[in-house]
Amino acid sequence: MKWYRDGDADAFDRLYARYRAPLYRYVLRQCAGCAEVDELYQDVWLRVVRARHQWKESQRFRPWLYRIAHNRVVDHWRARGATREDIDLPDTPDGSPLQEVIAHLRDCVARLKKLLGHLPAVQRDAFLLKEEGGLTLAEIAQVTGAERETVKSRLRYALKSLRQGLEGCDD
Protein backbone atom coordinates (compact mmCIF):
# COMPACT_ATOMS: atom_id res chain seq x y z
CA MET A 1 0.00 0.00 0.00
CA LYS A 2 2.86 2.31 0.82
CA TRP A 3 4.30 1.85 -2.66
CA TYR A 4 0.98 2.44 -4.34
CA ARG A 5 0.34 5.48 -2.18
CA ASP A 6 3.75 6.79 -3.23
CA GLY A 7 2.86 6.47 -6.91
CA ASP A 8 3.79 2.90 -7.89
CA ALA A 9 0.75 1.83 -9.92
CA ASP A 10 2.01 -1.78 -10.23
CA ALA A 11 1.92 -2.13 -6.46
CA PHE A 12 -1.85 -1.91 -6.62
CA ASP A 13 -2.01 -5.05 -8.76
CA ARG A 14 -0.10 -7.01 -6.16
CA LEU A 15 -2.27 -5.65 -3.38
CA TYR A 16 -5.43 -6.35 -5.32
CA ALA A 17 -4.43 -9.91 -6.18
CA ARG A 18 -3.96 -10.65 -2.50
CA TYR A 19 -7.24 -9.29 -1.17
CA ARG A 20 -9.67 -9.49 -4.06
CA ALA A 21 -11.28 -12.88 -3.37
CA PRO A 22 -11.85 -12.66 0.42
CA LEU A 23 -13.06 -9.08 0.11
CA TYR A 24 -15.39 -10.04 -2.69
CA ARG A 25 -16.86 -12.84 -0.57
CA TYR A 26 -17.24 -10.48 2.37
CA VAL A 27 -19.30 -8.10 0.23
CA LEU A 28 -21.16 -10.94 -1.46
CA ARG A 29 -22.26 -12.56 1.80
CA GLN A 30 -23.36 -9.20 3.16
CA CYS A 31 -25.33 -8.46 0.05
CA ALA A 32 -26.28 -11.87 -1.27
CA GLY A 33 -29.42 -11.74 -3.32
CA CYS A 34 -28.99 -8.13 -4.28
CA ALA A 35 -27.97 -7.17 -7.78
CA GLU A 36 -25.40 -4.59 -6.79
CA VAL A 37 -22.68 -6.92 -5.45
CA ASP A 38 -20.19 -6.11 -8.21
CA GLU A 39 -20.99 -2.45 -7.97
CA LEU A 40 -20.53 -2.44 -4.20
CA TYR A 41 -17.30 -4.38 -4.43
CA GLN A 42 -15.96 -2.04 -7.09
CA ASP A 43 -16.95 0.95 -5.01
CA VAL A 44 -15.05 -0.37 -2.00
CA TRP A 45 -11.85 -0.56 -4.04
CA LEU A 46 -12.43 2.84 -5.50
CA ARG A 47 -12.71 4.23 -1.98
CA VAL A 48 -9.46 2.50 -1.10
CA VAL A 49 -7.77 4.09 -4.10
CA ARG A 50 -9.07 7.54 -3.28
CA ALA A 51 -8.31 7.30 0.41
CA ARG A 52 -4.81 5.92 -0.03
CA HIS A 53 -3.19 9.11 1.23
CA GLN A 54 -5.10 8.73 4.49
CA TRP A 55 -3.59 5.33 5.14
CA LYS A 56 -0.70 5.47 7.59
CA GLU A 57 2.21 3.10 7.66
CA SER A 58 1.68 2.57 11.37
CA GLN A 59 -1.65 0.82 10.76
CA ARG A 60 -2.20 -2.61 9.22
CA PHE A 61 -3.68 -2.55 5.77
CA ARG A 62 -6.13 -5.40 6.25
CA PRO A 63 -8.27 -3.84 9.05
CA TRP A 64 -8.18 -0.53 7.19
CA LEU A 65 -9.45 -2.21 4.03
CA TYR A 66 -12.23 -4.03 5.87
CA ARG A 67 -13.25 -0.91 7.69
CA ILE A 68 -13.86 0.76 4.33
CA ALA A 69 -15.78 -2.30 3.13
CA HIS A 70 -17.80 -2.48 6.36
CA ASN A 71 -18.74 1.21 6.10
CA ARG A 72 -19.75 0.79 2.49
CA VAL A 73 -21.94 -2.19 3.30
CA VAL A 74 -23.57 -0.34 6.19
CA ASP A 75 -24.24 2.60 3.86
CA HIS A 76 -25.84 0.17 1.45
CA TRP A 77 -28.12 -1.28 4.11
CA ARG A 78 -29.15 2.18 5.20
CA ALA A 79 -29.84 3.26 1.64
CA ARG A 80 -32.09 0.26 1.17
CA GLY A 81 -33.85 1.04 4.42
CA ALA A 82 -33.67 -2.54 5.53
CA THR A 83 -31.24 -4.83 7.22
CA ARG A 84 -30.12 -8.12 5.82
CA GLU A 85 -32.25 -10.13 8.24
CA ASP A 86 -35.29 -9.21 6.19
CA ILE A 87 -33.90 -10.65 3.01
CA ASP A 88 -34.31 -14.27 2.07
CA LEU A 89 -31.41 -15.81 0.32
CA PRO A 90 -31.95 -17.77 -2.83
CA ASP A 91 -30.98 -21.38 -2.57
CA THR A 92 -27.41 -21.91 -3.57
CA PRO A 93 -27.20 -24.47 -6.34
CA ASP A 94 -25.40 -27.47 -5.01
CA GLY A 95 -24.52 -28.99 -8.38
CA SER A 96 -24.95 -32.64 -9.15
CA PRO A 97 -22.65 -34.60 -6.85
CA LEU A 98 -21.72 -38.11 -7.75
CA GLN A 99 -20.60 -39.33 -4.42
CA GLU A 100 -22.67 -39.32 -1.30
CA VAL A 101 -19.99 -37.70 0.84
CA ILE A 102 -19.47 -34.88 -1.57
CA ALA A 103 -23.19 -34.43 -1.81
CA HIS A 104 -23.49 -34.29 1.94
CA LEU A 105 -20.67 -31.81 2.22
CA ARG A 106 -22.12 -29.61 -0.45
CA ASP A 107 -25.43 -29.75 1.26
CA CYS A 108 -23.84 -28.59 4.49
CA VAL A 109 -22.01 -25.75 2.77
CA ALA A 110 -25.21 -24.62 1.14
CA ARG A 111 -27.00 -24.75 4.45
CA LEU A 112 -24.23 -22.79 6.10
CA LYS A 113 -24.44 -20.04 3.48
CA LYS A 114 -28.17 -19.90 3.90
CA LEU A 115 -27.91 -19.78 7.67
CA LEU A 116 -25.32 -17.06 7.38
CA GLY A 117 -27.76 -15.02 5.37
CA HIS A 118 -30.30 -15.27 8.15
CA LEU A 119 -28.00 -14.19 10.96
CA PRO A 120 -28.45 -10.73 12.43
CA ALA A 121 -26.33 -8.27 10.46
CA VAL A 122 -23.90 -7.49 13.27
CA GLN A 123 -23.28 -11.19 13.98
CA ARG A 124 -22.78 -11.99 10.32
CA ASP A 125 -20.45 -9.01 9.98
CA ALA A 126 -18.33 -10.18 12.90
CA PHE A 127 -18.23 -13.74 11.54
CA LEU A 128 -17.19 -12.62 8.05
CA LEU A 129 -14.59 -10.19 9.32
CA LYS A 130 -13.08 -13.08 11.24
CA GLU A 131 -13.33 -15.73 8.52
CA GLU A 132 -12.77 -13.70 5.36
CA GLY A 133 -10.83 -10.78 6.76
CA GLY A 134 -8.76 -12.86 9.14
CA LEU A 135 -9.11 -10.11 11.72
CA THR A 136 -8.61 -10.50 15.44
CA LEU A 137 -11.29 -9.60 17.98
CA ALA A 138 -9.58 -6.29 18.67
CA GLU A 139 -9.40 -5.48 14.98
CA ILE A 140 -13.05 -6.37 14.43
CA ALA A 141 -13.92 -4.10 17.34
CA GLN A 142 -11.88 -1.34 15.73
CA VAL A 143 -13.51 -1.83 12.33
CA THR A 144 -17.08 -1.99 13.60
CA GLY A 145 -16.66 0.60 16.34
CA ALA A 146 -17.90 -1.83 18.98
CA GLU A 147 -16.35 -3.00 22.24
CA ARG A 148 -14.14 -6.08 22.16
CA GLU A 149 -16.44 -7.95 24.53
CA THR A 150 -19.43 -7.06 22.37
CA VAL A 151 -17.69 -8.48 19.33
CA LYS A 152 -16.80 -11.61 21.25
CA SER A 153 -20.41 -12.02 22.26
CA ARG A 154 -21.67 -11.47 18.71
CA LEU A 155 -19.27 -14.10 17.41
CA ARG A 156 -20.32 -16.56 20.10
CA TYR A 157 -23.99 -16.13 19.23
CA ALA A 158 -23.27 -16.37 15.50
CA LEU A 159 -21.37 -19.63 15.91
CA LYS A 160 -24.02 -21.03 18.20
CA SER A 161 -26.76 -20.27 15.69
CA LEU A 162 -24.77 -21.79 12.85
CA ARG A 163 -23.94 -24.92 14.83
CA GLN A 164 -27.59 -25.42 15.69
CA GLY A 165 -28.58 -25.02 12.07
CA LEU A 166 -25.94 -27.46 10.89
CA GLU A 167 -26.91 -30.47 12.94
CA GLY A 168 -25.93 -33.58 11.12
CA CYS A 169 -22.99 -31.94 9.38
CA ASP A 170 -20.47 -32.75 12.09
CA ASP A 171 -20.07 -36.39 11.20
Binding site: A9, V49, R50, T92, L105, V109, L162
Partner: protein, 212 residues
Protein backbone atom coordinates in the same frame (compact mmCIF):
# COMPACT_ATOMS: atom_id res chain seq x y z
CA UNK B 1 -11.34 -31.27 35.70
CA UNK B 2 -10.75 -30.19 32.16
CA UNK B 3 -7.38 -30.13 30.51
CA UNK B 4 -6.52 -26.53 29.49
CA UNK B 5 -4.39 -27.86 26.64
CA UNK B 6 -7.23 -29.94 25.24
CA UNK B 7 -9.65 -27.97 23.03
CA UNK B 8 -13.21 -27.70 24.28
CA UNK B 9 -15.99 -29.38 22.25
CA UNK B 10 -17.32 -25.96 21.22
CA UNK B 11 -13.89 -24.93 19.96
CA UNK B 12 -13.63 -28.10 17.88
CA UNK B 13 -17.04 -27.43 16.42
CA UNK B 14 -16.07 -23.84 15.69
CA UNK B 15 -12.98 -25.04 13.85
CA UNK B 16 -15.08 -27.50 11.87
CA UNK B 17 -17.55 -24.76 11.12
CA UNK B 18 -14.76 -22.51 9.92
CA UNK B 19 -13.40 -25.31 7.72
CA UNK B 20 -16.86 -25.97 6.33
CA UNK B 21 -17.32 -22.29 5.58
CA UNK B 22 -14.05 -22.13 3.68
CA UNK B 23 -15.01 -25.26 1.73
CA UNK B 24 -17.76 -23.28 0.13
CA UNK B 25 -15.98 -19.96 0.01
CA UNK B 26 -14.70 -19.99 -3.53
CA UNK B 27 -16.52 -17.11 -5.15
CA UNK B 28 -14.35 -14.54 -6.87
CA UNK B 29 -15.00 -11.31 -8.72
CA UNK B 30 -15.37 -11.59 -12.46
CA UNK B 31 -12.37 -10.70 -14.68
CA UNK B 32 -14.41 -7.81 -16.03
CA UNK B 33 -14.74 -6.30 -12.55
CA UNK B 34 -11.06 -6.97 -11.84
CA UNK B 35 -10.08 -5.18 -15.00
CA UNK B 36 -12.31 -2.20 -14.27
CA UNK B 37 -10.89 -1.79 -10.76
CA UNK B 38 -7.27 -2.09 -11.88
CA UNK B 39 -7.85 0.36 -14.69
CA UNK B 40 -9.45 2.85 -12.33
CA UNK B 41 -6.59 2.50 -9.83
CA UNK B 42 -4.00 3.19 -12.53
CA UNK B 43 -5.97 6.13 -13.83
CA UNK B 44 -6.21 7.65 -10.37
CA UNK B 45 -2.51 7.20 -9.71
CA UNK B 46 -1.66 8.78 -13.06
CA UNK B 47 -4.12 11.65 -12.63
CA UNK B 48 -2.80 12.48 -9.18
CA UNK B 49 0.69 12.81 -10.60
CA UNK B 50 -0.50 15.26 -13.22
CA UNK B 51 -2.41 17.23 -10.60
CA UNK B 52 0.71 17.48 -8.49
CA UNK B 53 2.69 19.40 -11.12
CA UNK B 54 0.56 22.56 -11.41
CA UNK B 55 0.08 22.52 -7.66
CA UNK B 56 3.83 22.46 -7.15
CA UNK B 57 4.34 25.25 -9.69
CA UNK B 58 1.63 27.34 -8.04
CA UNK B 59 3.23 26.86 -4.62
CA UNK B 60 6.63 27.92 -5.96
CA UNK B 61 5.21 31.05 -7.61
CA UNK B 62 3.33 31.92 -4.43
CA UNK B 63 6.44 31.52 -2.29
CA UNK B 64 8.51 33.62 -4.67
CA UNK B 65 5.82 36.33 -4.72
CA UNK B 66 5.64 36.44 -0.96
CA UNK B 67 9.44 36.59 -0.81
CA UNK B 68 9.55 39.54 -3.21
CA UNK B 69 6.83 41.41 -1.33
CA UNK B 70 8.57 40.88 1.98
CA UNK B 71 11.84 42.04 0.47
CA UNK B 72 10.25 45.23 -0.89
CA UNK B 73 8.73 46.05 2.48
CA UNK B 74 12.03 45.31 4.14
CA UNK B 75 13.97 47.76 1.93
CA UNK B 76 11.53 50.67 2.03
CA UNK B 77 9.49 50.91 5.21
CA UNK B 78 5.91 51.93 4.57
CA UNK B 79 4.89 55.54 4.93
CA UNK B 80 2.40 54.51 7.55
CA UNK B 81 5.22 53.54 9.89
CA UNK B 82 6.72 57.03 9.60
CA UNK B 83 3.37 58.64 10.22
CA UNK B 84 2.80 56.45 13.25
CA UNK B 85 6.13 57.46 14.61
CA UNK B 86 5.36 61.11 13.98
CA UNK B 87 2.08 60.86 15.87
CA UNK B 88 3.53 58.97 18.77
CA UNK B 89 6.41 61.40 19.11
CA UNK B 90 3.96 64.26 19.42
CA UNK B 91 2.23 62.36 22.17
CA UNK B 92 5.45 61.76 23.97
CA UNK B 93 6.10 65.46 24.37
CA UNK B 94 9.67 66.73 24.21
CA UNK B 95 11.94 64.59 22.02
CA UNK B 96 15.16 63.13 23.22
CA UNK B 97 18.11 65.45 23.55
CA UNK B 98 21.70 64.33 23.59
CA UNK B 99 23.72 65.45 26.58
CA UNK B 100 27.47 65.34 26.99
CA UNK B 101 28.26 63.24 30.00
CA UNK B 102 31.55 61.74 31.00
CA UNK B 103 34.90 63.19 30.11
CA UNK B 104 36.37 59.95 28.81
CA UNK B 105 33.90 59.85 26.01
CA UNK B 106 32.41 56.50 26.92
CA UNK B 107 28.70 56.71 26.65
CA UNK B 108 28.87 60.28 25.44
CA UNK B 109 25.75 61.98 24.08
CA UNK B 110 23.53 59.62 25.98
CA UNK B 111 20.00 60.29 27.01
CA UNK B 112 19.83 60.35 30.77
CA UNK B 113 17.79 57.76 32.60
CA UNK B 114 15.91 60.51 34.40
CA UNK B 115 14.85 61.95 31.08
CA UNK B 116 13.66 58.57 29.85
CA UNK B 117 11.79 57.87 33.05
CA UNK B 118 9.70 61.01 32.62
CA UNK B 119 8.15 59.74 29.36
CA UNK B 120 5.05 57.69 29.83
CA UNK B 121 5.14 56.14 26.39
CA UNK B 122 8.60 54.82 26.97
CA UNK B 123 7.74 53.65 30.46
CA UNK B 124 4.87 51.55 29.22
CA UNK B 125 6.98 49.68 26.69
CA UNK B 126 8.05 46.22 27.74
CA UNK B 127 11.68 45.86 26.66
CA UNK B 128 12.86 49.02 28.32
CA UNK B 129 16.58 48.30 28.26
CA UNK B 130 16.62 47.23 24.63
CA UNK B 131 14.72 50.31 23.53
CA UNK B 132 16.96 52.61 25.47
CA UNK B 133 20.15 51.18 24.08
CA UNK B 134 18.83 51.36 20.51
CA UNK B 135 17.68 54.91 20.97
CA UNK B 136 20.98 55.85 22.58
CA UNK B 137 22.90 54.36 19.73
CA UNK B 138 20.75 56.21 17.18
CA UNK B 139 21.15 59.52 18.98
CA UNK B 140 24.86 59.01 19.28
CA UNK B 141 25.27 58.32 15.60
CA UNK B 142 23.16 61.30 14.65
CA UNK B 143 25.22 63.53 16.88
CA UNK B 144 28.50 62.25 15.45
CA UNK B 145 27.20 62.64 11.92
CA UNK B 146 26.14 66.22 12.57
CA UNK B 147 29.55 67.08 14.01
CA UNK B 148 31.67 65.60 11.24
CA UNK B 149 34.12 67.87 9.49
CA UNK B 150 33.16 69.06 6.01
CA UNK B 151 34.52 66.80 3.33
CA UNK B 152 34.58 63.74 5.55
CA UNK B 153 31.94 61.98 3.52
CA UNK B 154 29.20 62.54 0.97
CA UNK B 155 26.84 63.27 3.81
CA UNK B 156 28.93 66.28 4.79
CA UNK B 157 27.16 68.33 2.09
CA UNK B 158 24.11 68.58 4.30
CA UNK B 159 25.63 68.64 7.77
CA UNK B 160 24.61 72.25 8.13
CA UNK B 161 21.04 71.43 7.19
CA UNK B 162 20.49 68.70 9.80
CA UNK B 163 17.79 69.87 12.18
CA UNK B 164 18.54 69.91 15.88
CA UNK B 165 18.33 66.52 17.52
CA UNK B 166 15.07 67.42 19.23
CA UNK B 167 13.39 68.18 15.90
CA UNK B 168 10.56 65.89 14.83
CA UNK B 169 9.98 64.42 11.37
CA UNK B 170 7.86 67.37 10.30
CA UNK B 171 10.80 69.70 10.81
CA UNK B 172 13.02 67.36 8.76
CA UNK B 173 10.49 67.15 5.98
CA UNK B 174 10.06 70.92 5.95
CA UNK B 175 13.83 71.42 5.54
CA UNK B 176 14.04 68.85 2.77
CA UNK B 177 11.16 70.56 0.98
CA UNK B 178 12.80 73.99 1.38
CA UNK B 179 16.07 72.71 -0.05
CA UNK B 180 14.26 71.21 -3.02
CA UNK B 181 12.44 74.42 -3.68
CA UNK B 182 15.74 76.28 -3.47
CA UNK B 183 17.17 73.97 -6.15
CA UNK B 184 19.64 72.34 -3.73
CA UNK B 185 18.95 68.80 -4.94
CA UNK B 186 22.19 67.29 -3.61
CA UNK B 187 21.70 68.67 -0.14
CA UNK B 188 18.03 67.74 -0.18
CA UNK B 189 18.93 64.19 -1.22
CA UNK B 190 21.60 63.97 1.44
CA UNK B 191 19.21 65.20 4.12
CA UNK B 192 16.54 62.82 2.95
CA UNK B 193 18.97 59.95 3.34
CA UNK B 194 19.72 60.99 6.89
CA UNK B 195 16.01 61.43 7.53
CA UNK B 196 15.26 57.90 6.33
CA UNK B 197 18.03 56.45 8.37
CA UNK B 198 16.99 58.24 11.51
CA UNK B 199 13.28 57.64 11.35
CA UNK B 200 13.38 54.12 10.03
CA UNK B 201 15.59 53.22 12.98
CA UNK B 202 13.36 55.14 15.33
CA UNK B 203 10.43 53.23 13.89
CA UNK B 204 12.19 49.98 14.57
CA UNK B 205 12.64 50.99 18.15
CA UNK B 206 8.95 51.63 18.47
CA UNK B 207 7.91 48.47 16.67
CA UNK B 208 6.79 45.78 19.15
CA UNK B 209 8.04 43.05 16.84
CA UNK B 210 11.56 44.32 17.27
CA UNK B 211 11.78 43.47 20.93
CA UNK B 212 14.86 41.45 21.67
Amino acid sequence: MTDPQKPQPDEVEDLLLSALYHQGANEEPSPKVDHAIRKQARKEAHRRRWFALPRLAFTLVLLLGVGVVLRVFDVAPPERAIVEFEVSEEQEGAPLTPVASSADGAGSDRVTHEELSTRPALQSAAPEVSKKSSRESLEQRMFERANRQPGESSESVCVGDVPPSDAGPSEWLRRIRDLRQAGEQARAGCLQGLYRERFSEADQIKSPSNQE
